[in-house]
Amino acid sequence: MSTTTLTKPMLKIENLHAWYGESHVLHGINLELAEGQLITLLGRNGAGRSTTLRSIMGMVDRRTGSIAINGEEFITKPAHRITPDGRIGFCPEERGIFGSLTVEENLMLPPAVGPDGMPIEELFEMFPNLANVRKRMGTRLSGGEQQMLAIARILRTGARLLLLDEITEGLAPVIVKTLGRVIRDLKSRGYTIVLVEQNFRFAAPLADRHYVIEHGEVVDTIESGDVESSMDRLNHYLSV
Protein backbone atom coordinates (compact mmCIF):
# COMPACT_ATOMS: atom_id res chain seq x y z
CA MET A 1 0.00 0.00 0.00
CA SER A 2 1.31 3.39 -0.97
CA THR A 3 2.18 5.77 1.83
CA THR A 4 2.55 9.01 -0.09
CA THR A 5 1.30 11.85 2.04
CA LEU A 6 0.13 15.03 0.42
CA THR A 7 1.47 18.24 1.82
CA LYS A 8 -1.87 19.99 1.78
CA PRO A 9 -4.76 17.60 1.28
CA MET A 10 -8.23 19.06 0.66
CA LEU A 11 -9.86 15.92 2.02
CA LYS A 12 -8.06 13.67 4.45
CA ILE A 13 -9.78 10.67 5.99
CA GLU A 14 -8.08 8.73 8.76
CA ASN A 15 -9.19 5.56 10.45
CA LEU A 16 -12.84 6.07 9.52
CA HIS A 17 -15.22 3.56 11.03
CA ALA A 18 -18.97 3.59 10.34
CA TRP A 19 -22.01 1.71 11.53
CA TYR A 20 -25.54 1.16 10.29
CA GLY A 21 -27.41 0.25 13.46
CA GLU A 22 -25.42 -2.59 14.99
CA SER A 23 -23.55 -3.53 11.87
CA HIS A 24 -20.01 -2.26 11.59
CA VAL A 25 -19.53 -1.37 7.92
CA LEU A 26 -16.28 0.59 7.63
CA HIS A 27 -13.18 -0.67 9.41
CA GLY A 28 -10.69 2.16 9.30
CA ILE A 29 -10.67 3.86 5.90
CA ASN A 30 -7.66 6.07 5.12
CA LEU A 31 -7.51 8.25 2.05
CA GLU A 32 -6.61 11.74 0.94
CA LEU A 33 -6.69 13.99 -2.04
CA ALA A 34 -5.41 17.44 -2.89
CA GLU A 35 -7.43 20.25 -4.39
CA GLY A 36 -8.12 19.68 -8.07
CA GLN A 37 -7.43 15.97 -7.87
CA LEU A 38 -9.76 13.14 -8.77
CA ILE A 39 -9.66 9.83 -6.96
CA THR A 40 -11.78 6.76 -7.45
CA LEU A 41 -12.99 4.27 -4.91
CA LEU A 42 -12.99 0.89 -6.59
CA GLY A 43 -14.21 -2.43 -5.31
CA ARG A 44 -17.03 -4.90 -5.40
CA ASN A 45 -20.61 -4.19 -4.43
CA GLY A 46 -20.97 -4.00 -0.68
CA ALA A 47 -17.27 -3.33 -0.11
CA GLY A 48 -18.01 -0.02 1.60
CA ARG A 49 -17.38 2.52 -1.18
CA SER A 50 -20.81 4.17 -1.05
CA THR A 51 -20.74 3.99 2.73
CA THR A 52 -17.48 5.93 2.68
CA LEU A 53 -19.22 8.76 0.83
CA ARG A 54 -22.29 8.50 3.03
CA SER A 55 -20.05 8.68 6.10
CA ILE A 56 -18.47 11.87 4.85
CA MET A 57 -22.01 13.24 4.44
CA GLY A 58 -23.06 12.16 7.92
CA MET A 59 -25.64 9.77 6.49
CA VAL A 60 -24.69 6.79 8.63
CA ASP A 61 -25.92 5.99 12.13
CA ARG A 62 -22.50 6.36 13.74
CA ARG A 63 -18.97 7.20 12.61
CA THR A 64 -15.59 7.56 14.29
CA GLY A 65 -12.11 8.51 13.14
CA SER A 66 -11.24 11.70 11.35
CA ILE A 67 -12.61 13.46 8.28
CA ALA A 68 -10.73 16.68 7.64
CA ILE A 69 -11.69 19.09 4.87
CA ASN A 70 -9.15 21.85 4.30
CA GLY A 71 -7.76 21.03 7.70
CA GLU A 72 -11.07 21.38 9.54
CA GLU A 73 -12.45 18.36 11.43
CA PHE A 74 -15.90 17.26 10.19
CA ILE A 75 -16.53 14.07 12.14
CA THR A 76 -18.51 15.82 14.88
CA LYS A 77 -20.48 18.21 12.66
CA PRO A 78 -24.27 17.85 12.49
CA ALA A 79 -25.40 16.47 9.12
CA HIS A 80 -26.90 19.68 7.81
CA ARG A 81 -23.69 21.68 8.39
CA ILE A 82 -21.44 19.32 6.43
CA THR A 83 -22.42 20.40 2.93
CA PRO A 84 -22.20 24.16 3.47
CA ASP A 85 -19.08 24.11 5.64
CA GLY A 86 -17.19 21.71 3.38
CA ARG A 87 -18.57 23.16 0.14
CA ILE A 88 -19.50 19.63 -0.82
CA GLY A 89 -21.72 18.46 -3.64
CA PHE A 90 -23.07 14.96 -3.09
CA CYS A 91 -24.59 12.86 -5.82
CA PRO A 92 -26.06 9.72 -4.24
CA GLU A 93 -26.08 6.31 -5.85
CA GLU A 94 -29.83 6.25 -6.32
CA ARG A 95 -29.49 9.79 -7.79
CA GLY A 96 -31.94 11.28 -5.33
CA ILE A 97 -34.12 13.10 -7.83
CA PHE A 98 -37.30 14.28 -6.13
CA GLY A 99 -40.27 12.89 -8.03
CA SER A 100 -42.75 15.47 -6.77
CA LEU A 101 -40.55 18.35 -7.94
CA THR A 102 -39.98 19.58 -11.48
CA VAL A 103 -36.52 19.59 -13.08
CA GLU A 104 -36.16 23.29 -12.30
CA GLU A 105 -37.33 22.83 -8.71
CA ASN A 106 -34.86 19.97 -8.29
CA LEU A 107 -32.11 22.21 -9.64
CA MET A 108 -32.98 25.04 -7.31
CA LEU A 109 -33.47 22.87 -4.23
CA PRO A 110 -30.00 22.65 -2.61
CA PRO A 111 -29.00 25.93 -0.99
CA ALA A 112 -25.86 27.63 -2.31
CA VAL A 113 -22.68 26.68 -0.45
CA GLY A 114 -20.24 29.01 -2.16
CA PRO A 115 -20.04 32.10 -4.33
CA ASP A 116 -19.17 30.62 -7.72
CA GLY A 117 -21.98 28.20 -8.50
CA MET A 118 -22.72 27.64 -12.17
CA PRO A 119 -25.62 29.69 -13.49
CA ILE A 120 -28.64 27.72 -14.70
CA GLU A 121 -28.06 28.67 -18.31
CA GLU A 122 -24.51 27.36 -18.23
CA LEU A 123 -25.79 24.09 -16.73
CA PHE A 124 -28.33 23.76 -19.52
CA GLU A 125 -25.45 24.28 -21.96
CA MET A 126 -23.47 21.56 -20.28
CA PHE A 127 -26.51 19.24 -20.23
CA PRO A 128 -28.65 20.24 -23.22
CA ASN A 129 -31.02 17.30 -22.59
CA LEU A 130 -32.18 18.97 -19.40
CA ALA A 131 -33.09 22.25 -21.06
CA ASN A 132 -35.90 20.52 -22.96
CA VAL A 133 -37.49 19.03 -19.86
CA ARG A 134 -37.33 21.99 -17.45
CA LYS A 135 -40.94 21.75 -16.37
CA ARG A 136 -41.15 17.97 -16.28
CA MET A 137 -41.68 16.18 -12.96
CA GLY A 138 -38.73 14.24 -11.57
CA THR A 139 -40.55 10.93 -11.82
CA ARG A 140 -40.91 11.31 -15.56
CA LEU A 141 -37.21 11.54 -16.41
CA SER A 142 -35.06 8.88 -18.02
CA GLY A 143 -32.13 7.45 -16.07
CA GLY A 144 -29.66 9.56 -18.04
CA GLU A 145 -31.67 12.74 -17.49
CA GLN A 146 -31.91 11.97 -13.79
CA GLN A 147 -28.15 11.50 -13.56
CA MET A 148 -27.41 14.72 -15.39
CA LEU A 149 -29.88 16.55 -13.17
CA ALA A 150 -28.26 15.09 -10.05
CA ILE A 151 -24.87 16.41 -11.17
CA ALA A 152 -26.17 19.76 -12.43
CA ARG A 153 -27.99 20.26 -9.13
CA ILE A 154 -24.77 20.23 -7.10
CA LEU A 155 -22.80 22.33 -9.58
CA ARG A 156 -25.31 25.13 -9.14
CA THR A 157 -24.55 25.38 -5.42
CA GLY A 158 -20.92 26.40 -5.80
CA ALA A 159 -19.61 23.16 -4.30
CA ARG A 160 -15.91 22.54 -4.89
CA LEU A 161 -15.59 19.00 -3.55
CA LEU A 162 -17.80 16.60 -5.49
CA LEU A 163 -18.70 13.16 -4.17
CA LEU A 164 -20.14 11.18 -7.06
CA ASP A 165 -21.54 7.73 -6.43
CA GLU A 166 -21.85 5.29 -9.36
CA ILE A 167 -22.84 7.94 -11.86
CA THR A 168 -22.52 5.63 -14.88
CA GLU A 169 -24.52 2.77 -13.41
CA GLY A 170 -27.20 1.45 -15.75
CA LEU A 171 -26.75 4.18 -18.36
CA ALA A 172 -26.44 3.86 -22.13
CA PRO A 173 -22.87 4.08 -23.54
CA VAL A 174 -23.60 7.37 -25.26
CA ILE A 175 -24.64 8.94 -21.93
CA VAL A 176 -21.62 7.46 -20.18
CA LYS A 177 -19.48 9.14 -22.82
CA THR A 178 -21.16 12.49 -22.18
CA LEU A 179 -20.60 12.09 -18.45
CA GLY A 180 -16.93 11.30 -19.06
CA ARG A 181 -16.62 14.55 -20.99
CA VAL A 182 -18.37 16.45 -18.20
CA ILE A 183 -16.10 15.01 -15.50
CA ARG A 184 -12.99 15.85 -17.51
CA ASP A 185 -14.33 19.37 -18.00
CA LEU A 186 -15.02 19.72 -14.27
CA LYS A 187 -11.56 18.52 -13.41
CA SER A 188 -10.00 21.04 -15.75
CA ARG A 189 -11.98 23.73 -13.98
CA GLY A 190 -10.32 22.76 -10.72
CA TYR A 191 -13.07 20.79 -8.99
CA THR A 192 -11.92 18.14 -6.53
CA ILE A 193 -13.72 14.87 -7.14
CA VAL A 194 -14.24 11.54 -5.40
CA LEU A 195 -15.70 9.02 -7.80
CA VAL A 196 -17.18 5.74 -6.69
CA GLU A 197 -17.12 3.65 -9.84
CA GLN A 198 -17.82 0.14 -10.98
CA ASN A 199 -16.81 0.93 -14.53
CA PHE A 200 -13.02 0.96 -14.44
CA ARG A 201 -12.70 1.81 -18.12
CA PHE A 202 -14.68 4.97 -17.41
CA ALA A 203 -12.68 5.87 -14.32
CA ALA A 204 -9.14 4.98 -15.38
CA PRO A 205 -8.37 7.89 -17.72
CA LEU A 206 -9.88 10.44 -15.33
CA ALA A 207 -8.29 9.56 -12.01
CA ASP A 208 -5.10 10.67 -10.30
CA ARG A 209 -5.25 7.75 -7.92
CA HIS A 210 -7.37 4.68 -7.27
CA TYR A 211 -8.26 3.33 -3.85
CA VAL A 212 -9.36 -0.29 -3.76
CA ILE A 213 -11.80 -0.99 -0.95
CA GLU A 214 -12.65 -4.43 0.38
CA HIS A 215 -14.61 -5.32 3.51
CA GLY A 216 -14.68 -1.71 4.67
CA GLU A 217 -10.93 -1.12 4.35
CA VAL A 218 -8.58 0.33 1.77
CA VAL A 219 -6.59 -2.71 0.63
CA ASP A 220 -4.60 -1.07 -2.14
CA THR A 221 -3.76 2.33 -3.60
CA ILE A 222 -2.74 2.62 -7.21
CA GLU A 223 -1.39 5.85 -8.70
CA SER A 224 -2.62 6.57 -12.22
CA GLY A 225 0.88 6.07 -13.63
CA ASP A 226 1.03 2.56 -12.23
CA VAL A 227 -2.28 1.35 -13.61
CA GLU A 228 -0.70 -0.39 -16.62
CA SER A 229 1.66 -2.41 -14.48
CA SER A 230 -1.03 -3.15 -11.90
CA MET A 231 -3.68 -4.52 -14.24
CA ASP A 232 -3.37 -8.05 -12.89
CA ARG A 233 -3.94 -6.87 -9.35
CA LEU A 234 -6.84 -4.68 -10.40
CA ASN A 235 -8.49 -7.48 -12.32
CA HIS A 236 -8.16 -9.64 -9.26
CA TYR A 237 -9.81 -7.02 -7.04
CA LEU A 238 -12.61 -6.21 -9.42
CA SER A 239 -13.37 -9.67 -10.78
CA VAL A 240 -16.76 -10.90 -9.76
Binding site: H80, F90, P92, E105, L109
Partner: protein, 301 residues
Protein backbone atom coordinates in the same frame (compact mmCIF):
# COMPACT_ATOMS: atom_id res chain seq x y z
CA UNK B 1 -86.31 33.76 -7.93
CA UNK B 2 -87.73 30.30 -7.50
CA UNK B 3 -88.05 29.69 -3.74
CA UNK B 4 -86.44 26.27 -4.04
CA UNK B 5 -83.33 27.67 -5.72
CA UNK B 6 -83.29 30.47 -3.19
CA UNK B 7 -83.39 27.91 -0.39
CA UNK B 8 -80.61 25.82 -1.94
CA UNK B 9 -78.41 28.89 -2.38
CA UNK B 10 -79.07 30.01 1.17
CA UNK B 11 -78.31 26.62 2.67
CA UNK B 12 -75.32 26.39 0.35
CA UNK B 13 -73.93 29.61 1.81
CA UNK B 14 -74.42 28.37 5.35
CA UNK B 15 -72.86 25.06 4.38
CA UNK B 16 -69.94 26.89 2.79
CA UNK B 17 -69.53 28.66 6.08
CA UNK B 18 -69.01 25.32 7.81
CA UNK B 19 -66.87 24.21 4.89
CA UNK B 20 -64.48 27.05 5.69
CA UNK B 21 -63.59 25.39 8.96
CA UNK B 22 -63.43 21.95 7.40
CA UNK B 23 -61.05 23.28 4.77
CA UNK B 24 -58.79 25.25 7.10
CA UNK B 25 -58.49 22.47 9.63
CA UNK B 26 -57.97 19.68 7.13
CA UNK B 27 -55.44 21.91 5.35
CA UNK B 28 -53.29 22.10 8.49
CA UNK B 29 -53.76 18.41 9.07
CA UNK B 30 -52.70 17.66 5.49
CA UNK B 31 -49.61 19.86 5.77
CA UNK B 32 -48.57 18.05 8.94
CA UNK B 33 -49.37 14.58 7.66
CA UNK B 34 -47.69 15.24 4.32
CA UNK B 35 -44.39 16.26 5.83
CA UNK B 36 -44.22 14.49 9.16
CA UNK B 37 -46.38 11.45 8.57
CA UNK B 38 -48.03 12.34 11.85
CA UNK B 39 -51.80 12.12 12.22
CA UNK B 40 -52.26 15.09 14.51
CA UNK B 41 -55.25 14.13 16.59
CA UNK B 42 -54.75 17.27 18.68
CA UNK B 43 -55.77 19.44 15.74
CA UNK B 44 -59.32 19.91 17.06
CA UNK B 45 -58.03 20.81 20.49
CA UNK B 46 -55.62 23.36 18.99
CA UNK B 47 -58.55 24.89 17.10
CA UNK B 48 -60.36 25.12 20.43
CA UNK B 49 -57.22 26.63 21.96
CA UNK B 50 -57.20 29.31 19.23
CA UNK B 51 -60.81 30.22 20.00
CA UNK B 52 -60.15 30.32 23.73
CA UNK B 53 -57.06 32.48 23.27
CA UNK B 54 -59.20 34.98 21.36
CA UNK B 55 -61.74 34.88 24.19
CA UNK B 56 -59.07 35.21 26.86
CA UNK B 57 -57.39 38.10 25.06
CA UNK B 58 -60.69 39.94 24.94
CA UNK B 59 -62.34 39.08 28.24
CA UNK B 60 -59.65 38.04 30.70
CA UNK B 61 -56.13 39.13 29.76
CA UNK B 62 -56.73 42.75 30.70
CA UNK B 63 -58.06 41.89 34.14
CA UNK B 64 -55.17 39.50 34.75
CA UNK B 65 -52.66 42.30 34.37
CA UNK B 66 -54.79 44.73 36.37
CA UNK B 67 -56.17 46.69 33.41
CA UNK B 68 -59.88 45.95 33.58
CA UNK B 69 -60.67 48.22 30.68
CA UNK B 70 -58.23 46.46 28.34
CA UNK B 71 -59.90 44.23 25.79
CA UNK B 72 -57.57 42.88 23.13
CA UNK B 73 -59.92 42.72 20.19
CA UNK B 74 -60.55 40.49 17.22
CA UNK B 75 -57.95 41.88 14.81
CA UNK B 76 -54.97 41.62 17.14
CA UNK B 77 -56.26 38.21 18.24
CA UNK B 78 -56.32 37.09 14.62
CA UNK B 79 -52.54 37.46 14.67
CA UNK B 80 -51.61 36.77 18.29
CA UNK B 81 -53.69 33.64 18.93
CA UNK B 82 -52.47 31.64 15.90
CA UNK B 83 -48.88 32.57 16.75
CA UNK B 84 -49.33 31.34 20.32
CA UNK B 85 -50.96 28.13 19.11
CA UNK B 86 -48.10 27.67 16.62
CA UNK B 87 -45.57 28.09 19.45
CA UNK B 88 -47.46 25.57 21.52
CA UNK B 89 -47.48 23.20 18.54
CA UNK B 90 -43.74 23.61 18.10
CA UNK B 91 -43.18 22.77 21.76
CA UNK B 92 -45.22 19.58 21.31
CA UNK B 93 -43.16 18.70 18.24
CA UNK B 94 -39.81 19.53 19.77
CA UNK B 95 -40.25 17.82 23.11
CA UNK B 96 -42.73 15.02 22.47
CA UNK B 97 -43.40 14.05 18.86
CA UNK B 98 -39.74 14.16 17.85
CA UNK B 99 -39.02 11.22 20.11
CA UNK B 100 -41.59 9.10 18.30
CA UNK B 101 -40.64 9.50 14.62
CA UNK B 102 -38.78 6.21 14.52
CA UNK B 103 -41.75 4.33 15.93
CA UNK B 104 -44.99 3.26 14.32
CA UNK B 105 -47.26 6.27 13.47
CA UNK B 106 -49.85 4.93 15.91
CA UNK B 107 -47.67 6.27 18.76
CA UNK B 108 -47.81 9.85 17.56
CA UNK B 109 -51.55 9.49 17.05
CA UNK B 110 -51.94 8.28 20.61
CA UNK B 111 -49.71 11.04 21.92
CA UNK B 112 -51.68 13.76 20.16
CA UNK B 113 -54.89 12.12 21.35
CA UNK B 114 -53.51 12.41 24.89
CA UNK B 115 -52.67 16.08 24.31
CA UNK B 116 -56.28 16.57 23.22
CA UNK B 117 -57.65 15.04 26.40
CA UNK B 118 -55.33 17.11 28.58
CA UNK B 119 -56.24 20.37 26.83
CA UNK B 120 -59.95 19.61 26.96
CA UNK B 121 -59.69 18.65 30.62
CA UNK B 122 -57.84 21.84 31.51
CA UNK B 123 -60.31 24.10 29.75
CA UNK B 124 -63.32 22.27 31.17
CA UNK B 125 -61.78 22.73 34.59
CA UNK B 126 -61.29 26.48 34.21
CA UNK B 127 -64.13 27.47 31.91
CA UNK B 128 -66.61 24.56 32.36
CA UNK B 129 -67.96 22.54 29.50
CA UNK B 130 -70.75 24.84 28.37
CA UNK B 131 -69.92 27.44 25.78
CA UNK B 132 -69.00 31.07 26.39
CA UNK B 133 -69.97 33.62 23.74
CA UNK B 134 -67.12 35.67 22.24
CA UNK B 135 -68.03 39.32 22.68
CA UNK B 136 -65.23 40.78 20.60
CA UNK B 137 -66.68 40.70 17.08
CA UNK B 138 -65.44 43.89 15.40
CA UNK B 139 -67.97 46.64 14.80
CA UNK B 140 -67.14 46.81 11.12
CA UNK B 141 -68.22 43.20 10.57
CA UNK B 142 -71.53 43.36 12.41
CA UNK B 143 -74.80 43.42 10.48
CA UNK B 144 -75.85 41.71 7.29
CA UNK B 145 -75.31 42.05 3.57
CA UNK B 146 -77.91 41.44 0.91
CA UNK B 147 -76.70 38.72 -1.43
CA UNK B 148 -79.81 38.96 -3.61
CA UNK B 149 -81.15 35.62 -2.52
CA UNK B 150 -80.66 36.07 1.21
CA UNK B 151 -79.49 38.40 3.91
CA UNK B 152 -76.13 37.04 5.00
CA UNK B 153 -74.19 38.02 8.13
CA UNK B 154 -71.31 40.27 7.16
CA UNK B 155 -68.94 38.49 9.49
CA UNK B 156 -69.63 35.09 7.96
CA UNK B 157 -69.06 36.45 4.50
CA UNK B 158 -65.75 37.87 5.70
CA UNK B 159 -64.80 34.48 7.13
CA UNK B 160 -65.55 32.71 3.84
CA UNK B 161 -63.53 35.16 1.75
CA UNK B 162 -60.68 35.38 4.24
CA UNK B 163 -60.39 31.60 4.45
CA UNK B 164 -60.43 31.13 0.70
CA UNK B 165 -57.54 33.60 0.50
CA UNK B 166 -55.63 31.82 3.30
CA UNK B 167 -56.14 28.41 1.70
CA UNK B 168 -54.99 29.71 -1.67
CA UNK B 169 -51.90 31.35 -0.18
CA UNK B 170 -50.96 28.15 1.67
CA UNK B 171 -51.51 26.03 -1.42
CA UNK B 172 -49.46 28.44 -3.52
CA UNK B 173 -46.68 28.53 -0.96
CA UNK B 174 -46.38 24.77 -0.82
CA UNK B 175 -46.86 23.94 -4.47
CA UNK B 176 -45.22 26.90 -6.17
CA UNK B 177 -42.47 28.44 -4.06
CA UNK B 178 -38.92 27.53 -3.11
CA UNK B 179 -39.86 26.95 0.53
CA UNK B 180 -42.66 24.68 -0.63
CA UNK B 181 -40.36 22.66 -2.86
CA UNK B 182 -38.07 22.09 0.11
CA UNK B 183 -41.01 20.87 2.16
CA UNK B 184 -42.09 18.50 -0.60
CA UNK B 185 -38.53 17.27 -1.05
CA UNK B 186 -38.29 16.78 2.71
CA UNK B 187 -41.38 14.59 2.58
CA UNK B 188 -39.81 12.40 -0.07
CA UNK B 189 -36.26 12.02 1.15
CA UNK B 190 -35.46 13.86 4.40
CA UNK B 191 -32.00 12.33 4.62
CA UNK B 192 -30.87 13.74 1.29
CA UNK B 193 -32.46 17.12 1.96
CA UNK B 194 -30.43 17.22 5.16
CA UNK B 195 -27.33 16.26 3.21
CA UNK B 196 -27.91 19.28 0.96
CA UNK B 197 -27.42 21.45 4.03
CA UNK B 198 -31.03 22.09 4.99
CA UNK B 199 -31.83 21.88 8.69
CA UNK B 200 -34.62 19.32 8.40
CA UNK B 201 -35.48 19.03 12.12
CA UNK B 202 -35.95 22.81 12.26
CA UNK B 203 -38.02 22.71 9.07
CA UNK B 204 -40.20 19.97 10.55
CA UNK B 205 -40.71 21.93 13.75
CA UNK B 206 -41.67 25.09 11.86
CA UNK B 207 -44.02 23.12 9.62
CA UNK B 208 -45.73 21.57 12.58
CA UNK B 209 -46.02 25.03 14.08
CA UNK B 210 -47.44 26.34 10.83
CA UNK B 211 -50.03 23.56 10.59
CA UNK B 212 -51.13 24.02 14.18
CA UNK B 213 -51.12 27.80 13.70
CA UNK B 214 -53.69 27.29 10.94
CA UNK B 215 -55.85 25.40 13.43
CA UNK B 216 -55.49 28.32 15.85
CA UNK B 217 -56.44 30.77 13.11
CA UNK B 218 -59.57 28.75 12.33
CA UNK B 219 -60.36 28.81 16.05
CA UNK B 220 -60.20 32.61 16.19
CA UNK B 221 -62.43 32.86 13.12
CA UNK B 222 -64.89 30.44 14.71
CA UNK B 223 -65.07 32.24 18.05
CA UNK B 224 -67.60 34.92 17.05
CA UNK B 225 -69.81 32.37 15.21
CA UNK B 226 -69.99 29.37 17.51
CA UNK B 227 -69.80 29.68 21.24
CA UNK B 228 -66.32 29.03 22.59
CA UNK B 229 -66.34 25.71 24.39
CA UNK B 230 -63.73 23.12 25.41
CA UNK B 231 -65.41 20.49 23.25
CA UNK B 232 -65.82 22.56 20.08
CA UNK B 233 -62.83 20.84 18.50
CA UNK B 234 -63.84 17.35 19.53
CA UNK B 235 -67.13 17.74 17.67
CA UNK B 236 -65.33 18.86 14.55
CA UNK B 237 -62.29 16.60 14.41
CA UNK B 238 -64.20 13.52 13.27
CA UNK B 239 -65.61 15.39 10.29
CA UNK B 240 -62.14 16.79 9.58
CA UNK B 241 -60.67 13.30 9.43
CA UNK B 242 -63.41 12.32 7.00
CA UNK B 243 -62.48 15.34 4.86
CA UNK B 244 -58.80 14.44 4.90
CA UNK B 245 -59.53 10.82 4.01
CA UNK B 246 -61.89 11.79 1.18
CA UNK B 247 -59.47 14.40 -0.16
CA UNK B 248 -56.52 12.03 0.03
CA UNK B 249 -54.15 11.93 2.99
CA UNK B 250 -51.52 14.63 2.70
CA UNK B 251 -52.94 16.32 -0.41
CA UNK B 252 -53.09 20.09 0.09
CA UNK B 253 -55.46 20.81 -2.78
CA UNK B 254 -57.51 17.75 -1.83
CA UNK B 255 -58.00 18.98 1.71
CA UNK B 256 -59.09 22.46 0.65
CA UNK B 257 -61.40 21.48 -2.19
CA UNK B 258 -62.96 18.62 -0.22
CA UNK B 259 -63.40 20.80 2.86
CA UNK B 260 -65.37 23.48 1.04
CA UNK B 261 -67.30 20.92 -1.03
CA UNK B 262 -68.38 18.82 1.92
CA UNK B 263 -69.57 21.95 3.69
CA UNK B 264 -71.69 22.71 0.64
CA UNK B 265 -72.98 19.15 0.36
CA UNK B 266 -73.86 19.13 4.02
CA UNK B 267 -75.68 22.46 3.74
CA UNK B 268 -77.63 21.50 0.65
CA UNK B 269 -78.59 18.14 2.14
CA UNK B 270 -80.42 20.13 4.80
CA UNK B 271 -82.77 21.44 2.15
CA UNK B 272 -83.90 17.97 1.16
CA UNK B 273 -83.64 15.88 4.28
CA UNK B 274 -82.22 17.74 7.25
CA UNK B 275 -81.58 14.74 9.55
CA UNK B 276 -79.20 13.26 6.98
CA UNK B 277 -76.95 16.34 6.95
CA UNK B 278 -74.64 15.00 9.65
CA UNK B 279 -74.36 11.57 8.09
CA UNK B 280 -73.97 12.45 4.44
CA UNK B 281 -70.26 13.17 4.82
CA UNK B 282 -69.56 9.74 6.23
CA UNK B 283 -71.73 8.09 3.61
CA UNK B 284 -69.64 9.86 0.97
CA UNK B 285 -66.48 8.77 2.73
CA UNK B 286 -67.53 5.13 2.55
CA UNK B 287 -68.41 5.35 -1.12
CA UNK B 288 -65.21 7.19 -2.06
CA UNK B 289 -63.02 4.82 -0.10
CA UNK B 290 -64.60 1.91 -1.94
CA UNK B 291 -64.07 3.49 -5.34
CA UNK B 292 -60.79 5.36 -4.75
CA UNK B 293 -59.00 4.05 -1.66
CA UNK B 294 -56.39 6.85 -1.88
CA UNK B 295 -59.02 9.56 -1.80
CA UNK B 296 -60.04 12.00 -4.52
CA UNK B 297 -56.70 13.77 -4.79
CA UNK B 298 -54.46 11.14 -3.25
CA UNK B 299 -51.44 9.86 -5.13
CA UNK B 300 -51.83 6.25 -6.09
CA UNK B 301 -49.61 4.57 -3.58
Amino acid sequence: MDPMIRLILAQGMLGLNNGVFYAMLSLGLAVIFGLLNVVNFAHGALYMLGAFLALILYSYAGAWVGLDALHIGFWPALIIAPLLVACFGMLIERFMLRRLYKLDPIYSLLLTFGVTLVLQGLFINFFNASGTPYPGMPESLRGVVNLGFMMFPKYRLFVIIFSIVVCFVVWYMIERTRIGSRLRAGTENPELVKAFGINVPLMVMLTFGFGTGLAGLAGVLAAPIYSVSPLMGANLIIVIFAVVVIGGMGSIAGAVVTGFSLGLVEGITKVFYAPAANTVIFLLMVIILLVRPNGLFGRQG
